[in-house]
Symmetry: C2
Subunit: 227 residues, 2 copies
DNA sequence: TCCAAACGGATAAATTCGCTTCGTTTGAGG
DNA sequence: CCTCAAACGAAGCGAATTTATCCGTTTGGA
């Protein structure tokens, strides 16, 4: 069996801290976030980052894959809800909450792995179900498509005000800002209920978003097995 | 009298192109946009930028002041509308359209001049009127405050999808993306109409946003007279 | 008590940025 | 058709970042 893991526990903790830190820093600094900032925020040395990920891009790819997992889980939990509207609303809330607008800036800057593309497809299917169920129950305005809702999530996930306050360490105000955004989200959700005038223009094609995850410029990079 | 302006016309055209380019680049690249990128996008040399503005910050300050003017004009035009709801809706639409999410990332990175602070105060007053009028006419949900609407505008102004497409020069898709965002905006506007359940939480304090423009770290920098 | 595994931070190498300097082009007045 | 000041574009400079590596130190199970 032998000496395999003298500080295995610490390594795993650091791995988690790194991913959490990367998400926060990405949300605040945008796509040009530096590895030094991420490592510092995680409270680890830079070498610990490069011991797990061969490059900055690989870290971001891993982060994307994990976020896609969260989307999938959120959709599954939404479908378990008995009330179709509550299920959809909780899904939207959850997606806005955990993504924190971190993935938007990343789009187009990293190579898309096969794994990521597959997870996106799965997530899209689940969401289509979620929306179809709400439509069938008549609790969602008929002219709102899954794409409309995806875009709404992306729009609301990124909050310039919260990012500014975060950047300036105004910890006294971010609670108020988060509360304020909750109200904005609630307003948008109300706009999704039935009983509103027909939306103008044609519904956006799902390809608009899908293209982001399907476009795989180079042979997919595979992450090394871990754990 | 004498030889005063051999190429005055070209200079003025370039000035305008610079400001327009700065807004676009800021929206796409965020607050770390470089002067080289801005000058290139405007189709002028770097020196032409520094001949008009003593520094990068001064260019951004001027841009902010101009945007605040646009906000004010949009609010005034909204108030001229006979229909209180139409006036408010057009105001929101206009603000989202021309700001393009350029000012959000700028917040907190440049010094706030007295001029900017004054213009923000004026813009805030006009908007309060706009909202009060809509409230009085009963065409706006009573629990939505001016702050709620300001935040909504800021949220919807910045579109990660459009920015990504812009960055990648996918000119074939940005029209579709803009149309898609129009739908998102329409949904949010519907959520502002009366007849929805009470918003949870307390209304955000106006200070949340105002603080951004009132905070004047150093003595205000004045722009050199031009024209 | 070992010693492999994991650690952190200094550091190398390359890039990027804000800004200046400089030689060239332009176009209205004479 | 010259003249020449005003405006131009772009190469270049030093300072500051950024990615990634190297190496001496710490840790904790066998």
């Amino acid at each position: 069996m032998a000496r395999k893991a003298p500080r295995h526990a610490e390594a795993e903790r650091n791995d988690h801290a790194l991913l959490e830190a990367a998400k926060k820093v990405l949300a605040v600094d945008g796509a040009h976030a530096s590895v030094a900032t991420i490592a510092a925020r995680a409270g680890v040395g830079i070498a610990s980052l490069y011991r797990r990920y061969r490059s900055k891009d690989e870290l971001f790819q891993h982060l994307c894959a994990l976020s896609l997992d969260q989307w999938i889980r959120a959709a599954e939990r939404g479908l378990q809800h008995d009330d179709p509207w509550e299920g959809l609303a909780h899904y939207i809330d959850a997606c806005i909450e955990f993504s924190g607008g971190a993935l938007g800036p990343l789009a187009g800057t990293i190579a898309v792995t096969d794994e990521m593309a597959a997870k996106f497809t799965r997530s899209e299917e689940l969401m289509r179900d979620l929306v179809a169920r709400a439509h069938a129950a008549g609790v969602l305005r008929p002219d709102a498509t899954a794409m409309d809702i995806s875009l709404l999530i992306e729009q609301l996930g990124k909050s310039p005000l919260i990012e500014q306050l975060d950047r300036q360490d105004r910890t006294d105000l971010i609670d108020a800002a988060r509360n304020a955004r909750k109200r904005t989200i609630a307003i948008a959700l109300d706009g999704l209920r039935p009983g509103h005038p027909q939306l103008s223009g044609t519904a956006p094609s799902p390809a608009l978003l899908a293209e982001r995850w399907e476009h795989a410029p180079r042979g997919s990079t595979r992450l090394p097995e871990r754990s």
